[in-house]
């Protein structure tokens, strides 16, 4: 792999890892505070899985760079500041209510599922293999979050209203997951990753009818690309700073110490 392509791949892996880490972090905030005990348990499982996936991607990036896996993953998580994080803004937003949390997780899961299926065909074998493995877990997430979207979309007037509010809010951010970077084009040409636009089309084909069936109206229908400017992955909301100062608080007490 030439250095340029290598760097592009590392960036791509880091963006995936950061998305999963930050989403998992937000999900883990529910542990002990969920609306029913069964969800304290089930949703903690999803948080565990997402953080686990993040670790898989960080470690793949470490392999590409020839770095030690565990050290690299922890350095990326605990010793980067917000501007160096590459997660999409959608996952760093505060957890909100159960409607917001569930819908965010559903939207992310569906996007992830589409991307993972494509990634199983990656010409970079370690990536293809990891994607295939993670896919098996994501099926369960998607089932779980789909059930919740249906339940809350069709449950009561209040639950429907909360879901619609969450959807309107989230759709503004969802688009960022699909916006391509220059590096992505390099990777796409090397058959390592799928084309972002293709991912978007596939994902929309799946989510729009599903949401409609759950009595939820996607704000711009299936015309997803809005008038918003492109948000780049180094751009963050103020929420990421808060999140990281919490996440990194203990680790940074003494960076040389073992915990």
């Amino acid at each position: 792999m030439n250095p340029e392509l290598k760097q592009a791949l590392v960036d791509y892996l880091l963006a995936m890892a950061d998305d999963e880490l930050i989403l998992g972090h937000r999900n883990s905030e529910w542990c002990g505070h969920a609306p029913i005990l069964e969800e304290d348990i089930a949703f903690a499982n999803i948080a565990l899985d997402e953080i686990g996936h993040a670790i898989v991607w960080y470690e793949l990036a470490a392999d590409v760079l020839g770095e030690e896996r565990d050290t690299y993953a922890n350095r990326m998580v605990y010793f980067r500041d917000a501007p160096d994080y590459r997660n999409a803004q959608m996952v760093e937003l505060p957890k909100g209510d159960w409607a917001f949390t569930m819908l965010r997780q559903y939207l992310f899961d569906q996007f992830e599922m589409v991307r993972l299926e494509k990634l199983t065909q990656s010409s970079y074998t370690p990536l293809a293999e990891a994607a295939a493995k993670i896919c098996t877990e994501e099926i369960y997430h998607l089932r779980h979050t789909q059930a919740w979207v249906r339940r809350l979309g069709l449950g009561t007037e209040e639950s429907n209203r909360r879901m619609q509010t969450a959807l309107n809010e989230l759709m503004r951010y969802y688009e960022q997951l699909f916006s391509p970077s220059l590096a992505d084009t390099l990777l796409f040409e090397a058959n390592i990753v799928p084309f972002q636009t293709e991912l978007m089309v596939h994902t929309l084909e799946l989510i729009v009818p599903f949401l409609v069936e759950a009595n939820l109206i996607p704000p711009r229908g299936s015309n997803f690309v809005g008038p918003n400017d492109v948000i780049y992955r180094h751009e963050h909301t103020e929420h990421l700073n808060d999140l990281l100062s919490n996440l990194q608080q203990v680790a940074r007490l003494d960076p040389m110490a073992k915990w």
Partner: protein, 320 residues
């Protein structure tokens, strides 16, 4: 042979005869199962204990849950989430066990949220540093294991079986706690100081977890007679100190008890008197975090109300 003695003929024996047979079964080491005859007092004591135990697991998610987002490395983070999740699972098994005695989840939750039901006082102490994850895992889960290992042999089948499952997981909790304590105790001077501070705060509340002296424990006698408990509070507390004190000291940590020493003649560690005023004060709801813990549980319950309503409404629509 669980639940195999179904008698199709109406049981016409007198209560005394039933009681005698019930006590004879317990004496033979048989398990009492949900459909079996049992004295009302046995049922009442069990519901009280099991639901209290379930509440402790659920409220117990909070102090450690507060550090999930701050766990200092990825491995610790995964372990801590899994641990707190396990505690929720324990709450779930235990609520199920209490349901076999006729209590409902709603009643039990209501009793907790209204402050009528108690939960383990240990969870009314705050978690102030990462070292507390070590102290809780090793000391608090360690103390719980002693109690639960005893309860795994208790006379009520569903409770005993829940305990067997729970104990296996608690052992993992204890080990991860011990691992944190060892890492910090042997770490930098700051880490060691953090660990010592944590032991200073958690040692006495952990000893209080075993409950009052047996002479001051109104339920002890009947619980022991009916095989719900097979050891007294003081016996369990002594085993805990015997086991834990030397291990902590071997790591260079100090136990905040000037009267602690190894008594050659008895072969046990002698320890100072517990501050029972503090114990009863926390039990009565005036501990450092009672109000906060209850407020958090109530908040989660209230915030979840619309969700539970939606679930019910959807389930109804789904059926029609």
């Amino acid at each position: 042979m669980y639940g195999a003695t179904v008698d199709p003929i109406e049981d016409i024996r007198s209560d005394e005869e039933k009681l005698a047979e019930f006590e004879a079964r317990i004496a033979r080491g048989e398990k009492i199962e949900p459909g079996d005859w049992m004295p009302e007092e046995y049922r009442r004591q069990l519901i009280r204990m099991i639901s209290q135990h379930a509440h402790s697991e659920v409220v117990g998610m909070l102090p450690e849950g507060a550090f999930i987002t701050r766990a200092p490395n990825l491995r610790r983070k995964l372990i801590l989430i899994a641990k707190v999740q396990d505690e929720g699972g324990h709450g779930q098994y235990l609520y199920h066990a209490a349901e076999t005695l006729g209590a409902t989840r709603e009643e039990m939750l209501e009793a907790l949220l209204s402050g009528k039901a108690k939960y383990s006082s240990i969870f009314n102490y705050p978690t102030l540093s990462w070292a507390d994850m070590g102290a809780i895992g090793w000391l608090v889960d360690g103390a719980a294991i002693l109690n639960q290992t005893m309860l795994a042999k208790c006379s009520y089948g569903p409770y005993a079986r829940a305990m067997v499952r729970i104990c296996a997981e608690e052992n993992f909790h204890r080990r991860q706690g011990q691992d944190i304590v060892i890492t910090l105790a042997l770490g930098t001077p700051e880490q060691k100081a953090m660990m010592q501070d944590s032991i200073n705060r958690w040692w006495w509340p952990t000893l209080m977890m075993f409950g009052p002296h047996d002479t001051d424990s109104p339920n002890s006698a009947v619980l022991i007679r009916w095989g719900i408990k097979t050891k007294t509070n003081d016996e369990l507390r002594q085993s805990f100190v015997d086991q834990t004190a030397p291990e902590l000291m071997a790591l260079g940590l100090t136990i905040p008890d000037p009267n602690l020493y190894y008594d050659e003649t008895s072969g046990h560690w002698h320890f100072g008197e517990i501050d029972w005023d503090e114990f009863w004060n926390v039990v009565k709801g005036n501990g450092p975090c009672n109000a906060e813990r209850m407020a958090t549980r109530r908040q989660a319950h209230e915030d979840g109300l619309w969700v539970r309503e939606a679930m019910a409404a959807y389930a109804e629509k789904d059926q029609s």
